[in-house]
């Protein structure tokens, strides 16, 4: 858990896992009661939702916040002189402050709302990359990136003539730091972009170390936090990252909202990403003056109720506390890993020392799609496929994997249901 500690420095150390398991720190019955969707049965079986890395379910508080916005005070923001517009603006900007506090950003203007993690990364690739990257420069990523942290950089490289460099990882799924440093030393790297928590392997990268190594060479760093923010406390000032991107829908908020954190000085120097309403100070046909941060990067009417929903999600998560969430999920991961390892022919992909929240696996002779279908009939929802990380699949020479991923509401009984369902898969394919 060393990497987890390094990014959560101000927080107390996690309890030993077995102890955490037995203590049962969380009131799981109360937490589960907050999620109306979890009460249902699928194919006649209780729903066991283990596809949280794809998207997580929403607590009633989030559903209510969105519903309240539309039924009580919805109007467009930042422009109305009337009461509803003022109320919507206050709620929307209030959510921005909640995100700032959640990430411990220094300034609220450093929080930009986007559609999702993908758009946050595209914003940086287009605006920062487009204005600073030249032919012959290099962008450094890792071999365990999601497509959303590969393709925007490839597109930037195509536009500018820059080169995409890729830091490799070991068979266990751990980044090879010596190789990373060697690639940093080319003298041509203009930006590093890496995933904090791998959605395909569960690897928790040593973010602080990777950032420090890049900064020692004067290279700015973007962190893809899509998977990490729901599972561990992130402090962007302690990390000292230049950009941090994540999505609302993976952290108990609605889909259609993303966040880009960027250091103020960098964001101020960057040109706008999209042009339109709300991002201007003054428009004439001769010239346009752009608005200050954060509006400069929020052209057009945003997902107002969605952003307010994200704020409610963070409030809800804060009532539990990310340290308690991390301890609970890690205990689940340890339990699931031990149980899965007992199934003959099952191979876990991604065995890094620092892991969180998910386990990817294959079953000898059985394709993950078939596993997914059979598990679904047992009420167990998992992901089967390449997880938008095809290069990771290529690295291990498999077309796909099955992945069980955890959220705060998952229980040991649900891990048992997964194991039982996997035994049925083996039985059917025997």
């Amino acid at each position: 858990m060393s990497a987890l500690h390094s990014v959560t420095a101000p927080h107390p150390a996690l309890p030993p896992l077995r102890e955490g398991l037995e203590r049962g720190d969380l009131d799981l019955a109360r937490i589960r009661a907050d999620f109306p969707i979890l009460r249902q049965r699928v194919h006649g079986k209780p729903l066991v939702y283990l596809d949280n890395a794809a998207s997580v379910q929403k607590p009633q508080a989030v559903i209510d916040a969105i519903s309240d916005c539309y039924s009580d005070y919805y109007a467009n923001i930042h422009r109305g002189v009337h009461l509803l517009s003022e109320r919507s603006t206050v709620a929307y900007e209030g959510a921005r402050e909640k995100v700032r506090a959640f990430l411990n950003a220094a300034h609220v203007q450093e929080i930009i709302f986007t559609r999702n993690t993908t758009e946050s990364i595209n914003l940086v690739a287009s605006s920062f990359g487009g204005s600073t990257v030249k032919a012959g420069d290099e962008i450094l990523i890792t071999a365990m990136e999601h497509h959303s942290n590969i393709v925007p950089w490839q597109m930037l490289c195509e536009r500018t003539g820059a080169l995409l460099k890729v830091a490799p990882f070991t068979d266990a799924g751990e980044l090879i730091l010596e190789e990373y440093e060697r690639l940093l030393d080319s003298g041509r790297v203009r930006l590093v972009a890496f995933v904090h928590l791998s959605n395909a392997l569960g690897t928790l990268n040593p973010a602080k170390t990777l950032i420090d190594l890049a900064h020692a060479r004067g290279i700015p760093v973007l962190v893809d936090g899509a998977q990490s923010v729901p599972h561990l406390a992130v402090d962007v000032q302690a990390l000292d990252c230049d950009f941090y991107a994540f999505s609302s829908h993976k952290i108990y908020g609605p889909s259609g909202v993303g966040v880009l954190y960027g250091k103020k000085a960098l964001l101020e120097a960057m040109p706008p990403y999209q042009g339109g309403g709300d991002m201007i100070r003054l428009v004439t046909f001769e010239k346009t003056e752009y608005a200050d941060l954060p509006n400069k990067f929020e052209a057009g009417t945003p997902n107002i109720a969605g952003v307010i929903g994200l704020g409610a999600a963070l409030d809800w998560l804060n009532t539990i506390g990310l340290d308690a969430v991390a301890a609970h999920e890690h205990a689940l991961l340890e339990y699931a890993t031990a149980q899965l390892s007992g199934i003959p022919g099952l191979n876990i992909m991604g065995t890094a020392r620092d892991k969180a929240a998910l386990v990817a696996f294959t079953l000898r002779g059985i394709h993950p799609h078939d596993i997914g279908t059979i598990l679904d009939r047992e009420g167990v929802a998992i992901r089967a496929g390449h997880h938008c990380a095809q290069p990771v699949m290529q690295r291990y020479g498999v077309p796909a994997t099955a992945r069980a991923s955890f959220a705060v509401y998952n229980t040991r009984d649900e891990v048992d249901a997964l194991i039982k369902a996997l035994c049925k898969v083996k039985e059917l394919f025997a």
Partner: protein, 147 residues
């Protein structure tokens, strides 16, 4: 488990384990690749067509039990058929796996895949090899995708 047996019938499990015509045809007159971008499954089909008749047909690739068995069963069904018959058979097969038509009449062994109609997310698996064959016969240059 009983409803799962409707999908994973013995014939399907058998063709998955021991796919027929799982090879490359060196002198193929037609060839195409099919990919399912959703799951990364790939299939390559090879045909030897003489005078409008499929003299030989084979496939290679990695996929789930449904796509492997479907490809295997397809090669058995299409060997000896005319190119024109491929379209008719595909249409009948497609109608059955999408649930548009209930009766797998005239489909022969292909009818074992009828259970797919209850699993909409698996229709693409069942039809991947078929799309590849149609692309091969139309001499598409690009791999055909199910999306």
């Amino acid at each position: 488990m009983s409803d799962l047996r409707d999908l994973y019938q013995e014939v399907i499990l058998d063709h998955n384990k021991r796919p027929r015509n799982f090879r490359i045809i060196d002198q193929a007159t037609h060839h195409a690749d099919g990919v399912n971008p959703l799951c990364g499954d790939r299939v390559s089909v090879f045909l030897d067509v003489q005078d409008g008749v499929i003299k030989d047909i084979a496939f290679q690739g990695a996929g789930c039990a449904i796509s492997s068995a479907s490809a295997s069963l397809m090669t058995e069904a299409l060997k000896g058929k005319s190119v024109v018959e491929v379209e008719h058979l595909f249409e009948a097969f497609h109608n059955v796996v999408t649930g548009e038509c209930d009766c797998p009449k005239g489909l022969g062994k292909l009818g074992v895949l009828a259970g797919v109609r209850d699993y909409p997310s698996r229709v693409k698996c069942a039809t991947l090899a078929w799309h590849a064959v149609r692309a091969a016969l139309q001499e598409h240059q690009q791999p055909v995708a199910t999306e």
